[in-house]
Symmetry: C2
Subunit: 463 residues, 2 copies
């Protein structure tokens, strides 16, 4: 770097947004991808079996706290959390504590002028379907520093160190605030221009193809979804037949058309955080009440929340072929819904300032409705959000949460349009925002929760 | 709000920046202010005396944890913290825990087209000089909900509730990360147009006057400084004689002249957070080692860090006339220095990604040098920063930290210019940023620590 170098603009780089957008709008079919995907599935050797905790040989319950820990102290622990909400209700629960920050990295490269991303057909023990489409790198320091004595993490060198490529996206983001304590990962997109060796489990996929794949059940994994949601897209054009909905959607990507200014949105969110009267404290797992630890599970006494279970994994293409670990297994499928509505011809999303006990700041911007746990949700919104009127349901797909920590955790993601009969005035914990505004918020940590980020990706798939 | 309302731009409101800038550049003398200030000092009745903990009648040490607490559980507690830094050093220390979010609010109104701010000559028990210039409202929920049965908080209604004015600034910001655990306050500027009753302790002050007052020892209090630092200023003009330094400084406010793009700055900061290997856990105060509790103080055995002491306060113009409370009393004056340097004709500030044990995310953007505690500081930078060459020292003033929690806590703030002999290439925990870029970061929580925010305000005072 020298002083004669041209000084660069300080705002969002328009070149970066243009590159992503070009990759998103350039139609590419999926036939080659399908062929590769089928080949990958054919090679699979993968078995996951539940086992009692006593057989999790490198994991143990601490004699004093009862916390479930790995012998190295790494990976994650299962601890207890005491939560007091609004001075009215309080509860205790187990929670996953993983202070390490993983890299979720997508390697990007242009082919024929179109940005492609090196994506992985990755096995995770919690996946309901063995493989899902994942980022190039998805690894904690415990993984890539080889605490488990496994193989090296492929392509890590493109994301760490001085010789990495051009960083297009680099932001910490939270993960599931109902299950993780203060968890966050580093979402990265790095662009390279040189040759990249291709491992058979990896394939270059354009953003247009990713958008198509978003609509398939349990295809694009959580880690890929959050990185995609962090990509800034400029106002796109679409080749699809024009409709009023599509017109309103595309306008939602423009930077000067919103019901509220970004300052107003930020002030709404600041107020939501300042007024939140939730408090939490970690406690020993042994002090969590209303939950019972048996030989092979820890579960709440109503069997409504989740189980902590142990699994034995045998895999053919991971860094290590056999391992045992705990996983969190939800008792129920969850649902996350974004209500959307054209306001003055511009599609707006109705987001909620959502408290979740594990979030670092307790509150982030979430979808309109998150079921079952969002007690602050307006019931009338939840009723509308579950409509079966197909003409209003623009997206309705079951997607998986992170298979490295969660066992068959599935969420139904829905984008549901409401019309002019739906009020523009909403309760104070809600706010209407455009795609562009939510995109501005995901440039920073602590704003948008993982469910809302996934739904932002779902909205990207609608044009 | 109706759908026919014009949709507003989503970026930084240029009108808001223009209003602040106009108030900053319009010269106004301080003679009227001086008269009012002298009158205020003449009315003072204020006595602060140190007392033993046993006489802090509404405060007690918890029998189990040893934590120092108020009988209501409100205000704040003194707890213990265990910190492990970079896997190398670890320590325990007392820390102030105050989960409540206070409002630091400046009421703004235009007089003759120039925005003025209603500021208060406010007594705080820890102030070395009794009164300092403070925001309109500076109050925690414990204060304004009258936990202490005191009087109502003046002007609070302009900051809370549906009838408040136009919100110009509204952002949560951290406070001293070496003394507070995860503390933050809500920094607000609210503009009104109607009549505002004036209490004699309050006076309308323009931003130009605030900038002049910044250069006086212990005049503008911490709470006012942080709110001022959150005000966006557009590229100002100055009536002062032209100099190369001034020219470079004013260019630093423009939005397209920076060594690094804002994306690069954000990526640098993300990496700093991701690589930070500090961990902390709250512990009972009784378990803090290396500190001794006597009848009238808790202090580290080397007498280098700080004391927790008790004081008896008698005041004539606060919500309540007499009270007793603990305060944190630093053993030493601290120093915070920003090195600045023109790069390609544009002034840049050399900021450091600074870990502090009490910060929510452990790392925020801090000054080049913070003494004594910043062990990550380059010694060569600290040596340069303490230069006595007057031609290079653009700002050198002793300012007080929050007098409601800290007893005579003073920090020497310095802005020191370095020349072309100082390298543009800096270690990876440092980054050169412009005024405009730091201003963009303070629009969000979790980025810029209180010392760097104060120094941003100091830089504002240089033209």
């Amino acid at each position: 770097m020298t002083e004669t170098r041209a000084l660069s603009r300080s705002g969002l780089d328009p070149d970066t947004a243009a590159r992503f957008t070009h990759s998103a709008v350039t139609h590419q079919d999926l036939s080659g991808f399908r062929e590769w995907w089928a080949e990958r599935l054919a090679t699979d050797h993968f078995a996951v079996d539940r086992i009692p905790f006593a057989e999790l040989d490198k994991w143990h319950f601490d004699a004093t706290t009862g916390n479930l820990e790995h012998e190295t102290g790494k990976f994650f622990t299962v601890e207890g959390l005491r939560v007091s909400a609004d001075g009215e209700s309080s509860w205790t629960q187990p929670i996953l504590h993983q202070p390490e920050i993983a890299i979720l990295g997508l390697l990007a490269k242009e082919f024929d002028g179109v940005l492609h991303f090196l994506m992985q057909a990755k096995m995770e023990p919690g996946n309901c379907n063995i493989r899902q489409l994942s980022p190039t790198v998805q690894a904690t320091p415990s993984n890539y520093n080889r605490v488990h004595n496994g193989g090296a993490t492929r392509y890590l060198e493109y994301f760490k160190g001085a010789d990495r490529g051009q960083v297009l996206v680099d932001v910490l983001q939270s993960e599931q605030g109902v299950w993780f304590l203060a968890k966050r990962n580093r979402n990265m997109v790095v662009r390279v221009t040189g040759d990249v060796p291709e491992h058979p489990d990896f394939r270059w996929v354009s953003l247009n193809q990713v958008r198509q794949l978003f609509r398939e059940d349990n295809m694009v994994n959580m880690d890929a979804r959050t990185v995609v949601s962090c990509m800034p897209l400029a106002a796109p054009r679409s080749d699809r037949p024009w409709s009023p909905f599509l017109d309103a959607l595309l306008k939602s990507y423009e930077d000067d058309l919103a019901l509220h200014s970004q300052d107003e949105v930020n002030s709404w969110f600041t107020e939501s955080k300042a007024e939140c009267e939730w408090f939490r404290r970690t406690i020993p797992l042994a002090e969590v009440s209303g939950w019972t630890r048996a030989a092979d599970e820890i579960v709440d006494d109503l069997h409504e929340e989740f189980r902590i279970v142990g699994v034995n994994v045998e895999a053919g293409n991971r860094e290590i072929a056999k391992w045992k670990q705990p996983l969190l297994m939800p008792c129920r499928e969850r649902t996350a819904i974004m209500l959307v509505r054209p306001i003055a011809g511009v599609l707006h999303m109705l987001v909620q300032a959502t408290p979740q006990a594990g979030l670092r700041d307790l509150v982030e911007v979430g979808p309109t409705v998150q079921l079952p746990e969002s007690e602050h949700t307006e019931k009338r919104f939840a009723d509308i959000a579950m409509t079966t009127d197909g003409s209003k349901v623009h997206f309705d797909t079951v997607l998986s949460e992170e298979g490295g920590r969660f066992y068959r955790a599935q969420t139904r993601y829905r984008v549901v349009e409401v019309g002019e009969e739906f009020p523009v005035e909403v309760p104070e914990n809600y706010c209407w925002v455009t795609v562009r505004q939510l995109t501005d918020l995901v440039r920073h940590e602590h704003y948008v929760n993982i469910e809302a980020r996934t739904l932002l990706g779902c909205v990207h798939s609608l044009w």
